[in-house]
Amino acid sequence: MREKKFFITLFFLVIVIIGCFYLLSFIKEKINLSYPHIFMLSLSVMLLTFFMLLLFRYLLILIFSLLFHFRYQKEFSKDNLKKVSILIPVYNEEKLLATVISALLNLDYPKEKYEIIIVDDGSQDNSCEVVYQFLEKERTVKIKFFRQENQGKAKALNRAFAESEGEIIACIDSDCVLTKDSLLFGVRHFQDEKVGAVAGNVKIWNQDKIFTKLQALEYLEGLNFTRQALSFFNKVNIVPGAIGFFRREVLEEVGLYNGNVYAEDCDLTLRILKAGYKVIYEPKAVAYTEAPENIYCLLTQRYRWTRGILQAVKKNHDLFYYHSSSFSLILSYWLLIYEAFVWPTMNLVAHLFFTFLALLYGFIPFLFIWWFSLTLLDFSSACFAYTSDKKSENHTYQNKKITFFYLPFLVLLYRLYYLLLIDTIKVFAFLEEILNLGMSWQRIKITGKLNGYLIKEKA
């Protein structure tokens, strides 16, 4: 069956190549253009097509995000709350671990209805001592602590799952702090039996530099904005590792985390979607995290994300032609590919092409028009994402966050510098994954600024 599909694809590919070649020679004969000119013409047509596609994508996401907000239910019953197990894999997190656990112990959720399971994945720092301090203290929330040799995040999470008892599994990163009501908001959706997973809202805490503000804008406009639109169809394609909620039976049905994929969260989400469950987004289930404060750390993170997503996409390639799945699922899968590889590649190609035209022929306005139209699109969606995020906010203790006054200035920098940088690295990561070059998990430096969360909360 698979070979048949491969040969059919190959057959169509050959026909398309022959067709293009024939069209090229036809144009050359009729219009009397040289090959470099035809190449430039076809590249311009291609970029224009992609731009239209992008415009369409922005419009659709805007419409469905708006519909998501209209449908969003603010009120819910706090009776019959399910038992939750919060899983935290830990590896060298001594700087933030105390704050992470303290925030979990103070959640607005019945204390007897949740437990915290920490698995130390062979830390070499004082992470274990930090956990022992909490174990010695008197408390009303159950904490289970396990240690293992370093085997990776996926295996640590799977070990934590094996030791858990809750009906609902909440997975969080050990450098993420949950707000008081995040558990309540995340878990409420599981009243619907068809909900398999809920994605939380990841926000950046250390927004005290322009560089981290740009990342906050990306989270707001790029990641959470898209999740809102996909949530309208119940087809969110990534439940972030930083804050995600899962139904226990669903995890048992689709299998746990896969250690062979660097974006284990994306792989798990795609498997849940394939099994036919709803995956939704809850903007009020907030987890604060620290963003990388230097370019090298940021690019390392994005490189890992891109390769991880490509690995997950390859592993779940049956979604390309998954007959029993709905159209919205296939659309969600294609959107994942488009956002992670297609669009970054096209953006980089456009920049190189227009720069080439400007330097060689002096056609500078093309590059400007390309940049300006994309910046306008970014600005409109950033305004929407900003106002909708502000509406969903139910706490005020965030550090220095993006203000509306800053937004136009940030959007200018965002498109001109930040996204081009990120897209270039995404393209390199994409090429390396195709070439199957080796990679290793590289840690991101943590400053410990998130420790300020507890002080703000008390204030």
Binding site: L367, F368, W371
Partner: protein, 64 residues
């Protein structure tokens, strides 16, 4: 108006060029560092595997 557009276009072109070159340099640095780390990781893995082997190696006269 056209002069303003030309100046703005030149700024965009300048920043684009700098960013492209900068990201290329960053990528090369990243690749070089990643290669170094991979070698170290491989060595560490090899060592730990040996350790496990020694720990679980059955003693003489003991059943496997």
């Amino acid at each position: 108006m056209s002069e303003v557009i030309t100046i703005l276009s030149a700024i965009v072109l300048g920043v684009t060029l700098i960013t492209l070159i900068f990201s290329l340099i960053i990528y090369i640095l990243f690749r070089l560092r990643a290669n170094k780390k991979e070698v170290i990781n491989k060595e560490v893995k090899k060592e730990s595997e040996e350790e496990i082997f020694i720990r679980y190696q059955p003693k003489e006269g003991e059943e496997d």
